[in-house]
Symmetry: C2
Subunit: 431 residues, 2 copies
């Protein structure tokens, strides 16, 4: 069986994909009798230096021309912009009954519904293993492997850059800004794209897709609550460490009372939980279902080689000719869930107060909590020798409390004159 | 789409499966339009107390009668003996073109080749997600998700009972025999079946299946080298801990020079590796491929509910009607690899000497190593206050060395009169 594929976008992922297919075509054929034939490539710059010889492939200046000849069975979209040419190319391919594989999470999170509908109508697949968690086959795990499990909750670390930043802050005792610059130097993100990563938006794009697969929810990026990591201070990381936690950017989704909860925010994670030990640029996903207390997958969340593996796995899925749809569900069976009001969520919290070193501060804080029926779990008053004199950091962890209630109490305390800085509030992960 | 299934064996897994199907049938139907209909059940004892009402199902005293009526599309074999009735039932079902799902690793590891051949010839599937690592979808990950990756190595913790024993020895500072009795009390193993677990045979059955999927090797249980955990002393666990390692029963497979390496043995695993942090009855698998440095899966390795998830995932695979074979490969493409000579393997080692407290002992050991060109990495001489006087434990870790060479040197040292006990030799995991 021969599959003609064309590739739009030849950056890191695209180049590794071309290389892998060239190198492994004999291996694929021996293993499965499938062979892949790259019938066309397109990218911004023909002359750019690449890890493969571009002259071996038919070049198209305009990616739309890739699908204008009839030989192409599968279009692989690796251009990566959120709308514009990526959208047009994917849409036109599907309409021409050409299968599409894409790594473009932003495109699918925001415009996926329309595209998946066109795919289903034209009886072709729109696959996206590479769009979520790089080389981890999390899409196929949810869609093909445990699809008949009743998923209760998904929690993941879905962005390698932010995980690298938080891990490195902790390991090297460095500030957020310092490590962000290192991450840019290392090419994990770029100055212009950093906000997508550190703002939590990239993670939320991916969570949108996972939630749809797990709960049959309509693809709706508006369902996400998102908090980035730029306010996480090295002080909070070090205090969390003393309390037995690491701070991670956790993306979590579950259903409750016919509402969907899709939240990406930095959280304290207990060190004995697998998610706490996901370091550097790795990604991981923890799934809880009616049958499984925990199914945990960890692997490379980015990188050309790992992501190429996911694209090749999608090629294999297309070749397997199963009756499983792109999203597992038929489009008409997807449900519109309302989103939670984040203020109604109960969680335990980590709080950091920076106060004047005067008597009675702690008692004022705790009595204010008592008045608001907030139950304190732990108090840590750490004399910080490096710090200015007359300044005391107080760390408090609470039992579960609604966020609205907590914020009311915090507002009252923040008005007091002994509070020197904005109070740091970070939820504690409870999985 | 309606699928008629019959179930042979109603122990823990079978009972949870019946329960799950009954409870979730509406959920399945809404999600996929598949519905499952249990057309017959069979087990040893009709009257046994079960978590479901047996009278709701058609009972057969003889499991072979399950397939003697034409209504059954899928036979689920959960009887579990290695040959005998399980073999006969699976074989006859496949010959009657009935798909088979089994959790029986011993059956498949020893007689799988014949059965998979019959399945392929009759164009039906013989699926076994539940046979390896309980609720972790490792079979589908290898076979359906990353099948076109060129797998380099698989390392796993595949037996929950032994992992529970080793974890508990460490956490509670208890002897092997003590914890084994607790494991029997908790029902993780039974006195009569314990040898299958602690001898490493159950892990090796599972590794046989993983190796076949990963490397296209013929299913050949004889390819396994197996060492169990009954010689692991609490002293070795505590010493390893001081050196930064945990001791785990690791099952590992890879190809090299057209030979297959399938080894199950206790090993020291560095604490920062994911496999070291797999505690209790959990299972885990770490996969290395040409594309992926590490893909790590962790989850429940046993238990009725988790294992039922894997069986249901096999039902879903059957319903998906893909062209992927039971083992991924066509039977004729499976290769017969010769097995490694374990003595040729290079590994670093942990060694524990119990010696008389006389001068010159350490120098005699190290000079003996020097003569044999064995390079020492670390030496730890721990005065053990709880121990008898005049007895000194010496711990040495080596750099990589062939096992034959190491054993020659060890033999020489063991002949010396200052050595009081058999020298403990445990390889160090290098993944």
């Amino acid at each position: 069986m021969k599959m003609n594929i064309c590739i739009a976008g030849l950056g890191n992922v695209g180049s590794h994909l071309v290389n892998s297919i060239k190198k492994n075509n004999e291996f694929f054929k021996n293993k499965t009798s499938i062979s892949f034939n790259i019938t066309g490539v397109s990218a911004k710059d023909f002359k750019k230096k690449r890890i493969f010889d571009i002259s071996e492939y038919q070049w198209f200046d305009n990616p739309l021309d890739l699908i204008n000849e009839n030989r192409c069975n599968v279009l692989i979209e690796l251009i990566g912009n959120e709308k514009g040419i990526s959208f047009e190319l994917v849409k036109k391919s599907l309409e021409k009954k050409i299968h599409v594989i894409t790594a473009n999470k932003a495109l699918l999170a925001k415009h996926g519904f329309e595209l998946f509908e066109i795919a289903e109508k034209n009886n072709v697949l729109l696959l996206f293993e590479a769009a979520v968690a790089g080389g981890i086959p999390i899409i196929k795990t949810l869609k093909n492997n445990i699809f008949l499990d009743n998923i209760k909750k998904i929690s993941g670390i879905l962005n390698g850059t932010t995980n690298y930043i938080l891990s490195t802050m902790q390991q090297e005792n460095m500030d957020f800004e310092q490590v962000l610059n290192i991450a840019i130097d290392k090419g994990y993100t770029s100055a212009s794209e950093a906000e997508l990563d550190i703002g939590g938006f990239d993670s939320a794009h991916k969570l949108t897709l996972l939630a749809s697969l797990a709960f049959g929810s309509n693809i709706d990026f508006e369902n996400n609550y998102i908090t980035g990591i730029s306010n996480i201070s090295i002080l909070d990381i070090m205090n969390s460490d003393k309390l037995g936690y690491k701070i991670k950017l956790i993306s979590e989704a579950y259903l409750s009372n016919k509402k969907i909860y899709c939240v990406t925010e930095p959280k304290l994670v207990k060190k004995d939980k697998p998610l706490a030990n996901v370091d550097g640029v790795l990604n991981a996903v923890d799934i809880e279902s009616d049958h499984l207390k925990s199914l945990f997958l960890e692997g490379e969340g980015a990188g050309g080689r790992a992501t190429a593996s996911s694209i090749i796995s999608d090629l294999y899925e297309i070749s397997s000719n199963s009756n499983i749809k792109s999203l597992g569900y038929r489009i008409k069976n997807l449900k519109n869930y309302n989103k939670f009001n984040i203020d109604d969520i109960e969680s335990s919290y980590y709080l950091r107060f920076i106060t004047k070193d005067v008597t009675g501060v702690l008692s004022k804080i705790t009595s204010s909590f008592k008045d608001s029926f907030i139950s304190v779990e732990k108090i840590l008053q750490i004399p910080d020798n490096n710090n200015k004199k007359n300044v005391i950091p107080i760390i408090i962890t609470t039992h579960k409390i609604k966020k609205t209630k907590l914020l009311q109490a915090i507002k009252q305390i923040e008005d007091q004159e002994f509070i020197l800085e904005k109070i740091s509030i970070i939820p504690i992960h409870n999985n």
